[in-house]
């Protein structure tokens, strides 16, 4: 035990001496504790960069290099020039890390910018397409409207043509009928005047001073009756006229009676009394000179004025 104790003491002494000598030698290399202001500055710069939310995570490798360089600068150096050198390196590496982070940030923004630009183009195209579509459907609606109107007009035109043809046919038929009636009137020796067609019956109808129809006059009146039956839209005005022999009142009464007599004949042959009027004009409207026998004969007459048709189809 004793021997062991001895050797252990000796061993401890040597150990202490060895460590002490090594420690001394190491201490000769180490500087003093006060921090270099450059070191403090790069640490602060690094911390600032690391806490920048925009840049902190965007250049991890360069950031690690910068952190390592700052740590290296913080190591105690025997040579102040070595510290200055390490501080310089740390400074530049922080700058590199910042620049790289900014570059990465810029490139990330670029993606957003490109997408934004594409979106603008896309939006513009979409808007153009929408506008074109809207214009197109508006045009389509207009087209349909126009087609509908056109169809309508065509239908109207068709029906107008059809109606026109109908009217033309009616008109033709009426004209034909009119022509036929006209021919009959001409056969009755009617004359066209502005009052209508005037049929003058000479003194063949009546004997002198009398107002009853002579049998021979009936044939002329028969033709008139036939005509009036075929032209129900026409009315007749019957005027009795005399020469100037005898008194005015006498002649007036005579002419009235003669007109009435003709009217009675017509109504008795189926002509509606409403279409017939009879007046006596006496000798107030002579058509010839009463001084001669021929003139007086011409003045003794019955005029039958046939009205023009009330509606003339055209």
């Amino acid at each position: 035990m004793n021997f062991n104790n001895m050797s252990s003491v000796i061993r401890s002494t040597f150990l202490v001496a060895a460590i002490g000598s090594a420690g001394l030698l190491l201490a000769s290399c180490a500087g003093h504790e006060t921090k270099d202001p450059g070191v403090t500055r790069v640490r602060a710069n690094l911390t600032e960069l690391q806490s920048d939310p925009k840049l902190a995570t965007r250049a991890p490798v360069a950031m690690k290099d910068a952190a390592d360089a700052v740590s290296a600068a913080e190591q105690e150096q025997k040579d102040p020039a070595a510290t200055a050198h390490l501080v310089y390196l740390a400074d530049q590496k922080i700058n590199i890390a910042r620049a790289n982070a900014q570059t990465n940030f810029t490139e990330e923004q670029r993606k957003a910018l490109s997408e934004q630009n594409s979106q603008i183009q896309l939006d513009a195209r979409t808007r153009e397409a929408d506008a074109a579509k809207r214009a197109n459907s508006a045009l389509q609606i207009e087209n349909e409207e126009a087609k509908r109107k056109s169809d309508e007009l065509k239908a109207q035109a068709d029906s107008a043509v059809m109606r026109n043809n109908q009217l033309q046919a009616q008109s033709d038929a009426i004209n034909q009928k009119n022509d036929a009636l006209q021919a009959q009137l001409l056969a009755l020796e009617a004359k066209k005047t502005d009052r209508g067609m005037v049929l003058t019956l000479g003194d063949v109808l009546f004997s002198t001073g009398r107002s009853d129809l002579k049998p021979g006059g009936a044939s002329k009146l028969n033709r008139l009756t036939t005509f009036l039956a075929q032209a129900p839209d026409r009315t007749v005005r019957i005027e009795g006229h005399t020469d100037n022999r005898g008194g005015e009142a006498l002649n007036q009464a005579l002419s009235q009676r003669r007109a009435d007599s003709v009217a009675a004949y017509l109504t008795s042959h189926g002509i509606d009394a409403a279409r017939v009027t009879a007046t006596g004009s006496g000798f107030s409207s002579p058509i010839a000179d009463n001084k001669t026998e021929a003139g007086r004969q011409a003045n003794r007459r019955v005029e039958i004025i046939i009205s023009n048709p009330t509606v003339a189809a055209k």
Partner: protein, 128 residues
């Protein structure tokens, strides 16, 4: 016999540690010089002179000084050569980073300009 060797071994170990802490053999820092050469060349290729003229100039000056120091034979000169080479490399790398940032910014500005033009155009089209 075994016990006597132990203190001797500690002494030797302590001495070697001490020597390793302070001493260095004077050798030109070829690795540092080569790395700096490469960094400066690639910074030049990235148009570092255009975007970071100051860093580019100091990088070239320090690289030249590093090569000059490396030609000397003193241990202090070798230390100086290594430091200059490392700083030249850091300067050149910074010039490269600044050049890339400058180019990235230019591209973004172009894009922004295009976007503005596009927006104006589409507004004109929509308005007109």
């Amino acid at each position: 016999m075994k016990n006597n060797n132990v203190p001797l071994r500690f002494l030797l170990a302590g001495g070697v540690l001490a020597l390793a802490a302070c001493a260095s053999v004077p050798q030109p820092p070829l690795d540092a010089l080569q790395a700096a050469d490469i960094s400066v060349a690639s910074a030049e290729k990235e148009s570092g002179a255009e975007f970071a003229p100051l860093e580019m100039r100091t990088a070239r000056e320090k690289l030249a000084a590093a090569h000059a120091s490396a030609l000397k034979k003193d241990e202090k000169d070798m230390t100086e050569a290594r430091r200059l080479a490392d700083e030249a490399r850091a300067d050149a790398d910074l010039a490269t980073s600044k050049a890339r940032l400058g180019k990235a910014n230019a591209v973004n500005q172009e894009l922004q300009k295009n976007g503005k033009a596009l927006r104006q155009e589409t507004q004109r089209n929509t308005g007109g």
